[in-house]
């Protein structure tokens, strides 16, 4: 089976500190409005009892990327390891990929007049390093997995609020937060 790198997001560990976002912005000196990784709060009643949980998302490096199919200039390519790359040199700023991606991943830079997105720190990984967001997470809630081989009883392909995965087959995998126990005094 071909290699397919993806992120494993452990929402049980994530405390919503946004350090992953900042590590990514710092690594690539992104413009203020642009975030390649975003931390989303989950609805508090997603797992029954009220609880604050978070979902940290970057590009899902989909198996069947809608951005790649829509792009008219072949700015998107998929590496052998499954990482979806975006070549800013080819981008003409038509923004169709932004409409095509179900996860709002590609973002438009008003200064460069081009789209940009997470490339899973491909160069860092080629040099044996972890992606900046993975290294920057103080809770060790992020890691890189081979989604083609990954199997973990606690993991899931989706979380409440994550758009339907059928269209593009995203490779991000999640560990769901465990449901808390609400202790009540017996009447």
């Amino acid at each position: 089976m071909a290699k397919q790198l993806g992120f494993l997001v452990d929402s049980e560990r994530c405390v919503g500190c946004h350090a992953c976002e900042m590590a990514c912005k710092n690594e690539y000196q992104l413009e203020p409005k642009i975030r390649w990784r975003k931390v989303y709060p989950l609805k508090e009643d997603s797992f029954g009892l009220p609880e604050r949980n978070f979902m940290s998302l970057a590009c899902n490096h989909c198996e069947d990327p809608a951005c790649l199919k829509a792009c008219p200039v072949i700015a998107y390519t998929k590496r052998d390891d499954g990482i979806v790359m975006h070549d800013q040199g080819r981008c003409i700023g038509c923004r169709l990929c932004m409409l095509a991606c179900p996860y709002s991943v590609p973002q438009y830079s008003e200064t460069r007049k081009k789209v940009q997105k997470c490339h899973m720190c491909a160069e860092r990984q080629d040099n044996g390093q972890k992606p900046a967001c993975v290294s920057g997470c103080p809770m060790e809630a992020l890691s890189v997995i081979d989604a083609a081989e990954f199997s973990m009883a606690m993991s899931s392909k989706t979380l409440p609020g994550f758009p339907d995965t059928a269209a593009t087959k995203p490779t991000t995998r999640f560990i769901k937060p465990s449901v808390g126990v609400q202790v009540r005094r017996d009447r």
């Binding site: 809608a66 200039v73 923004r95 007049k113 269209a167 593009t168």
Partner: protein, 273 residues
């Protein structure tokens, strides 16, 4: 408005395609288009096609690199749209020259019309995207085709009138049917959206609560249909004094409708944010 270049490009290019189809069919099967009038109409179609393509460039971050959009014909509907509209524009120029002098005018006209029809279909397919619930169906292709059907004959009628020729009643009957079909299908489309959950219902709400929708309803559908019904109710059909108001009202309606198409769409969102 960010989408204005796309609103102008799609409406003008579809009008040019509708007009090319109308002129080609009139020339091949209807007869009676004088050469001077035909040259003038074909020139109008080529100029409109050219303006629409130039307008589309304003949407790009890097318009001078637009030629690269032809790179991904195998998968990207946008590449196919660019290629087909480029071909259509080139053919409108050839068609114009054929009206001036040439012995393959009818064939060139039908070829131009065929390229235009494919270009409009490709243009609609660009927006059929799983991430956009309101567009991920046949509606973009249907609405874009209806724009060509209603605006094309009216544009030809305006140009022919400048050369003292009047388009026949059949063409106006096609426009009226196109407007009725547009109104009915849009109503059904908005109702279906409103009846669905989450993003689709939000989009349906955006549409019916928008001033552009009611402006389109009154100016783009009710008023032109009323004018044509009034003309048809007279003992003798005479539309000459009403062609320009009909055209202006219909194009305003189509522009409002297209602004609504782009403005009301809501993409799938992550975590409802």
């Amino acid at each position: 408005m960010e989408e204005m270049p796309l609103v102008l490009f799609t409406v003008l290019s579809q009008m040019a395609v509708g007009a090319a189809v109308t002129l080609a069919l009139l020339d091949a099967f209807g007869g009676k288009v004088e050469q001077a009038a035909g040259v003038f109409v074909a020139q109008g179609i080529a100029v409109t096609a050219g303006i629409s393509l130039l307008t589309s460039l304003a949407h790009l971050g890097h318009p001078f690199e637009a030629y690269r959009a032809l790179s991904h014909l195998a998968n990207s509907w946008l590449s196919r749209e660019v290629a087909l509209f480029g071909l259509f524009m080139a053919l409108t120029i050839v068609y114009w020259r054929q009206w001036q002098r040439g012995d393959a005018r009818e064939k060139t006209g039908l070829l131009t019309a065929a390229a235009g029809v494919l270009a409009v279909a490709a243009s609609g397919m660009v927006y059929v995207l799983p991430a956009q619930p309101a567009w991920n169906n046949i509606s973009p292709v249907l609405f874009f085709s209806l724009t060509a059907i209603v605006l094309g004959p009216l544009f030809v009628a305006v140009l022919l009138q400048r050369k003292q020729q009047v388009l026949g009643k059949t063409s106006f009957s096609i426009v009226a049917r196109g407007l009725l079909c547009g109104a009915a299908s849009f109503w059904l489309y908005a109702s279906l959206l409103l009846g669905q959950g989450e993003a689709a219902a939000v989009i349906g709400g955006n549409i019916v609560h928008s001033g552009a929708f009611w402006g389109r309803l009154l100016l783009g559908w009710a008023a032109p249909l009323g004018i044509m019904a009034y003309a048809a109710s007279k003992p003798e059909w005479d539309i000459r004094s009403k062609i320009m108001p009909l055209f202006v009202l219909t194009i305003i309606g189509e522009l409002l409708g297209r602004a609504l198409f782009y403005g009301a769409a809501v993409a799938l969102t992550v975590a409802g944010l």
